[in-house]
Amino acid sequence: MTAAGRLALASILLATSAMATDQHVIGIEEHWVAEPPPGVPVAAAYGVITCRCITSDRLISVAAGGASMGEFHATTSGDGGVVAMRRLDDGIEIRPGVPLVLAPGGLHIMITGLEERPRAGGGIHVTLVFERAGAVDVVFPVMARPAVVAEE
């Protein structure tokens, strides 16, 4: 076996043992809520969710502080440039090692019935409920939507 081959094998074994010991770890990163414009009681939350696990998990429900309801939505664009937003009734599957990306124009957590307008710099308490991992509490920072810049 070459040195590179041994290294690859070692890292595979290491990853496997990590999975066996940390049985089911949910990671939530780059999470944020877009500050809604004035007068709009709905907001979208985004982020990257990972599952360090052996079997898939599923995000089944979401609740947000100061809001009446949270749902999982997908923005889709179909024929003739028509865009639609649809609720994902069965939640969202998270497969082992495959990051679930919630980002503008794709998937988002929809927060509706906000009592107060969340402002950039603040935070919203969000409880994400997973089928296997159970409830995970996270504070989502509120940020202004980033300005669009020309690509390099």
Binding site: P37, V40, V42, T75, M85, E151
Partner: protein, 196 residues
């Protein structure tokens, strides 16, 4: 024998040329059809209370797109994109009037629209019509919109998301779709200012 091959060759060549001309002609007609059908009469209130009609498009270059203020994802993204394109064009951007038209007049009042668009940019004018005025504009612009009721009693709107560019005579010039890159969009807008 060789002569027959030559004749067959010429005939085949002519057939190819005829097909190419036919396809080009068909494409030209289809393009003209699209240009002829997008655009036409409308009348709505701007977010500052002024009435804006199709006559206001004459003599100016315009950009129109459609959405609603309760739209949490795609509309804010498009508003920020449009603002950034116009910003990048510097003084050429000032030659283009940008309109964001609501497809949800039930919830979007002129006051709400004013708060909404000015939050994103001072380069975009919000337009609000009555249900009938929206219907008329949708007919003129071949716009699709539909109310989708949700379980909790609220609703969302499906709608056409393309950005329409109209020339100085108020005719369709080009469209920018959601998949266009920043540079492609700015290039189309620059062409609108120069040739529209």
């Amino acid at each position: 024998m060789r002569r027959r091959h030559l004749v067959q060759g010429i005939l085949a060549g002519l057939l190819v040329v005829a097909t190419v001309i036919g396809v080009m002609e068909l494409h030209r007609r289809q393009t003209e059809d699209v240009e002829a059908v997008i655009g036409g009469p409308f009348s709505m209130l701007a977010h500052d209370g002024a009435r804006v009609t199709h006559e206001d498009l004459t003599g100016r270059r315009s950009l129109l797109f459609f959405g609603f203020t309760y739209c949490p994802d795609i509309c804010p993204t498009t508003l920020l994109q449009v603002a950034a394109w116009l910003e990048a064009m510097e003084e050429k951007g000032d030659l283009i009037d940008a309109y964001f038209v609501t497809v949800d007049p039930e919830r979007d009042t002129v006051e709400r629209m004013a708060e909404y668009v000015t939050y994103f940019s001072d380069r975009i004018t919000g337009l609000v019509g009555t249900a009938d005025e929206l219907r008329q504009m949708a007919d003129s612009y071949r716009l699709y919109y539909a109310r989708i009721d949700l379980d909790d009693g609220s609703y969302t709107m499906d709608h056409t998301a393309a950005v329409y560019l109209m020339d100085a005579e108020g005719r369709f010039f080009d469209a920018i779709t959601m998949t266009a890159s920043f540079d492609e969009a700015v290039a189309k807008l620059t062409r609108l200012v120069e040739d529209g």
